[in-house]
Symmetry: C2
Subunit: 222 residues, 2 copies
DNA sequence: TCCTTTTTGTTGTAAAAACAACACTTTTTA
DNA sequence: TAAAAAGTGTTGTTTTTACAACAAAAAGGA
């Protein structure tokens, strides 16, 4: 089957064998399509007919607000989906432009077929739904985490909140974060240079230590 | 059937008739329980065995971090659920204390029964899952909205971003918001008095007008 | 109705963050 | 490997925000 290897690595289809995948491609009226760098995968405001699954490459979701300002809301990697929440929430249109940031292979899954009972009663359909549910739930919890850090007043508190949560996840005061400094500042919605200054202060005060993406919480204080 | 009227008003069970509800109470190993004001419904760190559905009353989810600081993460009303995202994401423990803020009636639904195929193959089980999926997706989109507003740098931008989004939802420059000023400040994570000052300025500059919870965008500018 | 509580707007001050500009380092890629 | 690009830390300045304290208005309860 075409692209089975890529499907197998995604959270959504990880449980299914080649035959089942093949069958589900019909269930979900899927189609594969490749996009070049900077090509638009879906456009903000277009009818939400398909949920998107990135199989190769990467993409960004960018939103243009009514003041004309562009903001990048998320970065999608292999295995990531776009539009699932919107589809399940009953939205009719895409909320963002989805743009390939490199040559990408994308799978389109028909939202109607996804949301409604499978006409073929295929066994694996329920697993896919459960997997989708899991990814939605996980992304929701990630949003909650981010919100929790961002709701802190000062940059230092935002940083500490994030570090403590990362420290908990790795069960150690030593941990690695998935961001460089610039990305961390974006994640926490603070000015990069101001954050850099604060990090240096915290290091000087002996609260934390860090090198590249490696961090160490020494004292849990503010 | 006991408490059918309350169940019927929730998003989760809205599709089901009394007989089906009755059947599902067995499927999900549910139990009803009443709580007095300030009683703890579930405790942070306890095993996540049940998803909670508030049928009467109200509750708050409060989180105590490792610095001992308490923060209120959400306020639950009738029909609201707690723990669904955690359950579907495979979390093992409750992330917060859930505390009744008034005399409340609560339904507990067994997470294992919810997540796995129904042994009774009851017809409505899938609808409940779909409804749950919808509520999770909707709450996820609400979080995204909030995050979008909060990521703006200045208080004025946060306010404008929120107002524009509320205006879009009601298809009018006149709209009502679900918050009083204090609650709005909490929602946007800004200081109430600073926000009050900013609102007054915006009114004086002729950008917006407001009275109580009624707002009007006059000019979409900053 | 009156009294109490909550909500709201205002002000001044202190603290913090954004911003801009720069040098230096690391990473990428041609 | 050299050149270009991206990332990082530092500084000083300006702007914004948080904080605190208060009075007035509105809402709720007895």
């Amino acid at each position: 089957m075409e692209h089975f290897l890529e499907l197998k690595t995604t959270k959504i289809f990880k449980d299914a064998n080649e035959f089942e995948c093949q069958a589900m491609m019909f269930c979900f009226k899927t189609r594969f399509k490749t996009f070049d760098k900077n090509e638009i995968i879906v456009s903000q405001g277009d009818e939400l007919e398909y949920v998107i699954l990135i199989l190769k490459g990467a993409a960004i979701a960018q939103n243009i607000d009514s003041l004309g300002e562009i903001s990048i809301l998320s970065q999608l990697k292999c295995g990531d989906t776009y539009g699932v929440e919107s589809a399940f929430a009953g939205e009719k249109f895409y909320k963002d432009n989805l743009i390939a940031t490199e040559k990408s292979l994308v799978l389109f899954l028909n939202t109607h077929r996804l949301l409604n009972p499978c006409p073929n009663k295929c066994k694996r359909h329920d697993f896919v739904l459960k997997n989708l549910m899991q990814t939605v739930a996980e992304s929701s919890m990630k949003l909650l985490d981010k919100l929790y850090h961002m709701s802190k007043k000062s940059t230092r508190e935002k940083l500490m909140s994030y570090f403590i949560s990362m420290s908990k996840k790795s069960n150690s005061t030593y941990f690695e974060i998935p961001f460089n400094k610039t990305e961390l500042a974006n994640y926490l919605s603070v000015d990069r240079s101001a954050m850099s200054t604060e990090l240096s202060k915290m290091k000087a005060e002996g609260l934390i230590d860090f090198d590249k993406k490696q961090y160490h919480i020494i004292k849990k204080e503010l």
